[in-house]
């Protein structure tokens, strides 16, 4: 096996096994910090050992065993320093719990990471680290914060979980509805990180994260089939995922919605997404945020050609969304639709009003650059592309923005 194959095997094992290793160690040792550190050490060991010894026949089993050994080593080291409590934990055996339809080890991990006693940003960061296996720098970039601040946030969260004894389990049926909205917010952000992955050495689309977010959202839907927002989020993810392969060109460049080959869209995912959106429309209940976003995507994916897009309906849906979620990012996306309906001049005026809030966000500058280009303001457009390229963390997006900038007259 050559070095590239080993490298790929390690990457695949990381995508498939990270959350399982962390979840199983958390269950065994009752400590997220130990689980995370031992999992990271096990993968670091694989990086050294697998190229020399070959990839083990059961990579997941090898990683779990190695991580377990690392965790026990750490506990022994700490107990030698007099921490008897840790030593006791090592022998602590959780009584077996009944295994139900939703007894997924990773779901348990998610409900702990998305606990309401933690701040929302902390929940997302912790889920991306523990369940998604993202590194602290990747998470820091996704949040537009400093690495040190992100590292502190995650450390503090783990310490709080331990000190206050946040339980490691899926909540009871009566508590479930209240806990689900927090989990949905977290899963949506995990999906987004996968769909527009950050980092210079990262694939532009991380299918591992998008498929993991979809898989976990499906699990929650199986659990709560009547919940409109669960259905909405799943539909939104499916309709977005359906366009995944059309979204990056063979040369690794981002392909925007208007340029995509619609024949490349995954028809089965589109059909499933549309079915869910219709189901929610038929329910006749006022839609929440995810259902509106799903409806917007349903309008896009219903158009066989970009020229057939019903932009007035999209703008109307954004108006509905702004009512629920008056965030500048929603306003920016609405402006993109407004450009198609009322022209780039009107849209640019709306985008410029968001400068104070979005000056550090690459999509703000990319949107401005495109609108300025359409208005023939090449010089201003170039400056906006420069700023967008500087801020963009996704390789495909950087390639796309660079080409557009270089094509300016």
């Amino acid at each position: 096996m050559n070095a590239v194959d080993v490298r790929e095997a390690i990457t695949r094992a990381h995508q498939e096994e990270w959350a399982r290793v962390v979840a199983s160690l958390t269950r065994r040792f009752g400590d997220l910090d130990i689980a995370e550190e031992a999992a990271a050490e096990a993968f670091a060991t694989a990086l050294v050992r697998w190229p020399a010894d070959g990839v083990p026949p059961n990579p997941g089993g090898w990683l779990t065993t190695t991580a377990n050994r690392k965790a026990i080593d750490r506990i022994r080291r700490e107990s030698k320093r007099g921490d008897k409590q840790k030593e006791a934990q090592m022998w602590y055996d959780d009584p077996p719990e009944p295994r139900g339809a939703i007894d997924d080890e990773r779901l348990r991990l998610i409900f702990t990471c998305a606990h309401p006693a933690l701040g929302m940003e902390t929940r997302v960061a912790l889920t991306l680290r523990m369940v998604g296996g993202l590194t602290v720098p990747e998470i820091a970039r996704a949040f537009l914060v400093q690495e040190t601040a992100m590292a502190q946030r995650i450390t503090r969260a783990k310490a709080k979980i331990k000190a206050t004894r946040i339980p490691y389990r899926v909540p009871s049926a009566e508590d479930l509805p209240g806990r689900v909205s927090g989990v949905l917010a977290v899963l949506f952000l995990v999906f987004n990180e996968g769909y527009l992955a950050t980092g210079p050495d990262t694939d532009p689309v991380r299918h591992d994260l998008t498929s993991e977010a979809i898989r976990l959202t499906r699990l929650i839907r199986a659990l709560m089939p009547e919940d409109g927002e669960v259905a909405g989020l799943l539909a939104l993810m499916l309709l977005t995922e359906a366009r995944r392969t059309a979204r990056v060109s063979a040369s690794g460049e981002l392909v925007t919605l208007d340029q995509q080959d619609r024949g490349d869209w995954d028809a089965a995912l589109v059909a499933e997404g549309h079915r869910l959106v219709r189901e929610r429309l038929a329910a006749g209940v006022a839609p929440g945020r995810y259902q509106i976003l799903a409806a917007i995507n349903a309008v896009h994916t219903s158009a066989r050609d970009v020229r057939d897009t019903d932009w007035s309906q999209i703008v109307a849906l954004y108006d509905q969304l702004i009512h629920l979620d008056p965030s500048p990012i929603v306003a920016l996306n609405r402006a993109v639709a407004v450009a198609e309906l009322d022209g780039p001049q009107v849209a640019l005026a709306a985008v410029d009003r968001l400068e104070d809030q979005l000056a550090g966000y690459h999509a703000y500058h990319a949107t401005r650059a495109d609108l300025l280009r359409r208005l023939g303001c090449s010089q201003d457009s170039r400056a906006a592309y420069d700023r967008a390229i500087e801020l963009a963390g996704n390789t495909a997006e950087t390639a796309y923005l660079t080409r557009r900038r270089d094509q300016l007259g």
Partner: protein
């Protein structure tokens, strides 16, 4: 594990008879279900005295150790298996006493 529920108020001695009755009901439930450790209401911060005996002799200072808009009006100490149980009880306690409650675990 034991948790401290601190009752946060912005006025002193402001409990109403209805609130006292609701607190009694909640306390009885805590005792009946085995969560109860201890509870009490506190007099106003203006009745506090701070003692510092770290030096040569004890120094007494009139008033609370920190002046703030919000004050500790009372507390519960409860025994619960995990934070989910503690948070649920704290939510009921907050409703009973009609005030905000902070939950903190003991070390």
């Amino acid at each position: 594990m034991q948790y401290l529920f601190s009752v946060i108020d912005d006025k002193t001695n402001s409990g109403t008879p209805d609130e006292m009755a609701a607190i009694d009901v909640f306390n009885e439930r805590l005792q009946a279900e085995g969560y109860w450790v201890f509870a009490g209401g506190l007099n106003s911060p203006s009745t506090a005295t701070v003692i510092d005996n770290r030096g040569v002799e004890a120094v007494f200072t009139d008033g609370p150790f920190v002046e703030s808009k919000e004050l500790l009006a009372g507390f519960w100490i409860i025994e619960a298996p995990d934070l989910d149980v503690a948070l649920k009880l704290a939510a009921e306690g907050s409703k009973a006493c009609h005030r905000k409650v902070e939950v903190r675990p003991f070390l």
